[in-house]
Point group: C2
């Protein structure tokens, strides 16, 4: 059974309170980077893996996509997504990312935002993405950065005065489950090395076009001094790969 | 003036004492990984950037390369290299990596082992490599890993008992000079993010074939317990890119 934390009442309540849940993409610190990796979506068939509240699906509609499918394991997430926007080009499907089964070459663009670090079998997913994409199709993925996921604690190392000394890295080559806290306890994520992410994509024939490591905008740092800490270590890894 | 630390007497004396200097590639902890990224060199024209004592040049000769050129800024390094092997297919050239100027499409394979983190202008070098390579040519590069170069101290974080608690990461997005210690003080290296390494290559048209992050062999870990710490964070980043 895949973990479906988003249908846990406590988790969902807290998730709904996050700025990105309330205000959408503009409130997501990495959106300014992810957006640049997404190609033109006009008249494109788009799949969003782990669509959550559907913000990226909405973006695809706004950009003129001809068909948009959002997949998510959580019923609560999809109910919220469906309440936010209705469009005949848009379909939501309740399914785990691992279970997707679409025809070959039926999408021009596959987006997955901060979902694949919950997926156990990366290789199987990447193979499916390769099959589902049209020639020249684009796979845009964001995940928690391997520097961020290496230790389950996923936190800074502090001194006695509670100041952030640095970000601790350990167990980097020890890939696999990390039972961590995000909003609530017992959230299962998978730590993978950077080379595993890249090589899993290139091994099935994807061409790595660009990678990015999240950092805040100047505006965000001026508005919120805490955001400067996001320059000290990357929280997210973003990859644009072409079939 | 490029830094030429290897012609500093103290530095050179200490460098000569390193296992990899005395015993060659098999004593270099990452060689088992780098080796797998190097394509067949039979009848190939090979350039080694920052060749040092020429171990990789020797390897290229052993693998049947038809022409091998090793470039290094250090006269002391090249004198040692020249004393180790003579072969009419092999030429050493005293030059900084930044200054290289070879004809277009004159190499099938360019290797650079642990040298490019000393180079200030990565983009200019990558552009040159692109021009110098034949179509389908291979660029194999190892550098100190961005996790390793982020902080100038380049050391573990220890507790009061001198135990290695973890590897500290900070200033990750702050690319540029790191004045650090390696054998002696005042060694100038350049910290770059992973995305800068990858995107600089893809921006000029290289296709990333594979990346690796150094880890020890099982044999090395059995032989030397300290080597297990190399699983805790990657020291080197290795990239295979195709023109």
């Amino acid at each position: 059974m895949k973990q479906n934390k988003y249908d846990d009442d406590d988790f969902f309540r807290l998730y709904k309170e996050m700025p990105r849940s309330q205000f959408g993409l503009e409130a997501a610190g990495e959106w300014h980077i992810l957006k640049q990796l997404i190609p033109s979506l006009e008249n494109k068939h788009v799949l969003d893996l782990g669509c959550g509240f559907g913000w990226h699906c909405q973006y695809a509609l706004e950009q003129g996509a001809s068909q948009v499918i959002g997949v998510d394991i959580s019923q609560k997430m999809l109910e919220q997504a469906q309440s936010l926007v209705k469009d005949k080009r848009l379909t939501y499907k309740q399914q785990s990312i691992e279970e997707i089964d679409f025809p070959n070459e039926c999408f021009d663009v596959i987006i997955s935002s901060l979902a694949i670090h919950y997926v156990k079998d990366l290789k199987a997913l990447v193979q499916k993405a390769m099959k589902m994409l049209t020639d020249g199709g684009v796979f845009v993925v964001s995940v928690e950065h391997p520097i961020f996921t290496a230790l389950p604690n996923q936190d800074w190392y502090y001194n006695e005065d509670g100041e952030k000394l640095h970000w601790p890295v350990d167990r980097y080559q020890d890939e696999g489950v990390r039972e961590t806290s995000f909003l609530t306890n017992n959230v299962i994520k998978y730590h993978r090395t950077l080379s595993t992410y890249i090589n899993t994509l290139t091994a099935v024939g994807f061409v790595i076009k660009e990678i990015q490591e999240s950092k805040p905008t100047l505006e965000a740092m001026e508005h919120d001094k805490e955001m400067k800490d996001e320059m000290r270590r990357p929280m997210f890894l973003l990859i644009k790969a072409i079939k």
